[in-house]
């Protein structure tokens, strides 16, 4: 293998694919990055067997070939090189990759590319296209609700389901639930894939990789491999799917609520942040007081209150339009902040049916995103 690439391209590619490398890989070769030539491009790939990332950069290929080298070593080395042309030259006998750039030279000992886990081929024919920016936003709106660590592996994933021309993403950790839908420009039809559970970690990385140049994300499911692939302009992300059945979340979304609050998103977020200062000492519990207006010319009021036994308390009232009864509920304020952070709309709806019923947060005048938070128990306080 003999190729030439630009330092900045190689550096960018390495910074992307390195995200798929674990700090303690299960197999020694997984600490390596695969370099492989392809027409006038160089493919870099890394995988931890759950998440795999490939990235292509333009290259002048004099002689084709492939090799794997320790990713950290290559990454650290390339970051110290000047922004010039890097020549890569592989000695196939010793599996040593020789680098030269701006007068500097280096040799990196590699491992045989044949021992690297197989990378699946992307099947563009049967791929489903989703607009890049929309998909990125969808991921950001649900992925935080997935369980960070859980004995039930399905909850560490995000459910993705195609039905007709609608794509749904949903995630839940037992205390909260996010569901986001989007209408596609076409019907998936008879190629409609089975609902799948994608590890949240994968989607986090994917949303990080999706850039402004990626107008469309192509999603494809190779037959029987239990994988999903996302193809971007110059990257391919492959993820293993999580086995199992996602819980039936429709049942826990309240059909209707007794009290419905319409409030400015930023005001509510600011109020939540003030009470979080104290609430974080009492397992993030914050009380939300919802008081409808007494007369026509005064607005209703939502008060977010946080309290700490040692440090004190804070109350932050916010003006709001309120339908229904006055009520007081307690939520985990961290969860409320998490969801308000991903709502871009000016106004947000907060709905509740009392201190023991699940609360609903959704952007005003939109019905493609819904977030459900279980209330915190306040008995004995």
């Amino acid at each position: 293998m003999r190729v030439s690439v630009l330092q900045e391209n190689l550096y960018k590619a390495l910074s992307v694919v390195s995200r798929a490398i674990q700090s303690r890989p299960t197999l020694p070769i997984l600490a390596n990055v695969l370099l492989s030539t392809e027409d006038a491009r160089l493919q870099l790939a890394a995988t931890n067997l759950e998440l795999g990332i490939s990235y292509w950069i333009g290259a002048k290929v004099e002689e084709g070939g492939s090799i794997t080298v320790p990713a950290r070593t290559l990454y650290e080395l390339v970051s110290t090189l000047p922004p010039e042309r890097i020549d890569l030259d592989l000695d196939p006998r010793t599996l040593t990759l020789h680098l030269s750039c701006g007068g500097k030279t280096a040799n990196i000992k590699g491992m045989d590319a044949n021992e690297y886990p197989l990378l699946p081929q992307f099947d563009a024919e049967r791929a489903i296209g989703v607009p890049g920016p929309v998909f990125k936003e969808m991921i950001e709106q649900v992925v935080f609700s997935a369980a960070k660590e859980d004995n039930r592996p399905v909850l560490a994933g995000v459910l993705a389901r195609f039905e007709g021309d609608v794509l749904t993403l949903a995630a839940a950790d037992g205390y909260r639930l996010s569901v986001r839908t989007t209408e596609l420009e076409f019907t998936v039809g008879d190629q409609e894939p089975e609902p799948m559970i994608i590890p949240a970690r994968t989607l986090n990385e994917l949303s990080r990789i999706i850039s402004d140049q990626d107008e469309e994300v192509l999603i494809s499911l190779p037959d029987g491999r239990g994988q999903v692939m996302f193809s971007l302009t110059s990257a391919l992300v492959v993820s293993q799917l999580i086995e199992g059945k996602f819980p039936d979340y429709e049942a826990i979304i309240p059909r209707q609520s007794q009290t419905i609050v319409r409030v400015r998103t930023n005001d509510l977020l600011a109020a939540c942040r003030s009470s979080e200062v104290f609430a974080k000492d009492s397992s993030n519990t914050a009380r939300i007081l919802i008081e409808p207006s007494g007369s026509h010319n005064t607005p209703g009021q939502v008060t977010v209150a946080g309290r700490s036994q040692e440090k004190g308390d804070a109350r932050a009232p916010v003006e709001a339009d309120i339908e229904g009864n006055s009520v007081e509920v307690s939520f985990n304020i961290r969860y409320l902040i998490d969801v308000l952070n991903v709502i871009r709309e000016d106004q947000v709806m907060l709905e509740t049916s009392g201190p023991t019923a699940p609360g609903v947060v959704r952007p005003a005048d939109r019905d493609d995103f819904i977030h459900v938070i279980m209330p915190m128990s306040t008995t004995g306080r």
Binding site: T26, L27, P28, I29, L49, E50, N114, E115, P117, L118, P153, A156, P199, R225, G226, Q227, Q240, L241, I242, E243, G244
Partner: protein, 330 residues
């Protein structure tokens, strides 16, 4: 001579286990969990590895041993075969390792048909780790096969054993070990010596063939035992104190001691069965005559017990001191 020729499985010995496993493969009746038991270094993990290759190799004569799947599995480099074990022999397998494994097993196989998890020396798993595995053992995700190895089934929780199909493996016949060593290029007399001393533990024999230090180490351990048996309690305690500073190898040392006492018992009881440590025949003869059958049996039991206790995280020095008190005085 070797089973490798007979069955096509690159495993030495264990013919009936191989026959059983390949039958279950042929009839598509593979269990979800197996438990391979038997003394250390008789080839339990090798058998597990080869079984994993047979499960996943697509050749008609699986395992072919040459395809990508086989080569990667046999050198522990396959993405779908996880090997989990305590950091070192005599260490502890921890609950975090089981949890990590469960995360991996929740994913569908990466490139093979089955995901195989080999949990080595599972008697070293602490109770929390063993209990954490129960749910997975009872109902693993589809396409997952678990293989546990352990010195003996009764060292494990009964709840673990009842969820696996047990395959008790035995030390190999001396003849098989000798033949295997000769195919590896050992001169006949070396092969004979190693095979006999190994007591059928093929793994140790192969290692000793490659590295003479293993043989020296064994001699050192047996000398130590013989010195201790000649000494007073005070001298024995001094020996043990030095010994307990070594973290690794104690388990192997006790295996050799068990073999030594077993030989003494054979001699004391007048049995005609061949002894393992035939190079120590004179010392063994003297010991058997001096101590008598009851004391030898007591010492053998005590050594076994100590070996189990060391797995359970007891104070090494105290355990060895107690063992020394159990040994007959000169």
């Amino acid at each position: 001579m070797t089973a490798a020729v007979n069955s096509g499985w690159p495993v030495i010995g264990h013919e009936w286990a191989i026959a059983h496993l390949s039958r279950s493969l042929a009839f598509d009746r593979v269990r979800h969990a197996y438990l391979f038991t038997g003394p250390g270094m008789i080839g339990k993990t090798t058998l597990a590895r080869v079984f994993a290759a047979s499960l996943n190799c697509r050749d008609a004569h699986a395992p072919c041993g040459t395809c990508r799947t086989c080569t990667l599995i046999l050198k522990d480099g396959h993405p779908d075969v996880s090997i989990v074990e305590a950091g070192q022999a005599g260490g502890q397998l921890k609950i975090e390792q089981v949890r990590d494994l469960q995360q991996t097993l929740a994913l569908r196989p990466y490139e093979a048909r089955y995901r195989v998890a080999v949990l080595r020396r599972f008697h070293e798993a602490n109770p929390a780790a063993a209990n954490a595995l129960l749910k997975t053992l009872e109902e693993p995700p589809p396409g997952v096969i678990l293989i546990l190895t352990a010195d003996a089934a009764d060292l494990l929780l009964p709840t673990i054993v009842s969820r696996c199909q047990p395959l008790p493996l035995r030390p190999l016949p001396v003849e098989v070990v000798r033949a295997a060593l000769m195919t590896r290029g050992a001169p006949p007399d070396t092969a004979q010596t190693l095979a006999q001393i190994s007591g059928g533990r093929i793994g140790w024999a192969i290692r000793a063939l490659a590295d003479p230090a293993e043989l020296a180490q064994r001699a050192e351990w047996l000398d130590l035992l013989e010195t201790a048996l000649q000494g007073t309690r005070r001298e024995r305690f001094a020996l043990v104190e030095k010994l307990s500073l070594e973290k690794t190898g104690l388990q192997t040392m006790l295996d050799f001691w068990v073999g030594y006492w077993r030989d003494a018992l054979l001699i004391a009881s007048g049995s005609r069965a061949p002894i393992t440590n035939y190079d120590r025949q004179a010392a063994l003869q003297a010991l058997a005559e001096r101590a008598g059958m009851g004391a030898v049996q007591h010492a053998l039991d005590a050594t076994r017990r100590t070996s189990q206790h060391l797995n359970k995280n007891v104070n090494t020095r105290l355990a060895l001191e107690v063992l020394m008190l159990d040994y007959p005085l000169p």
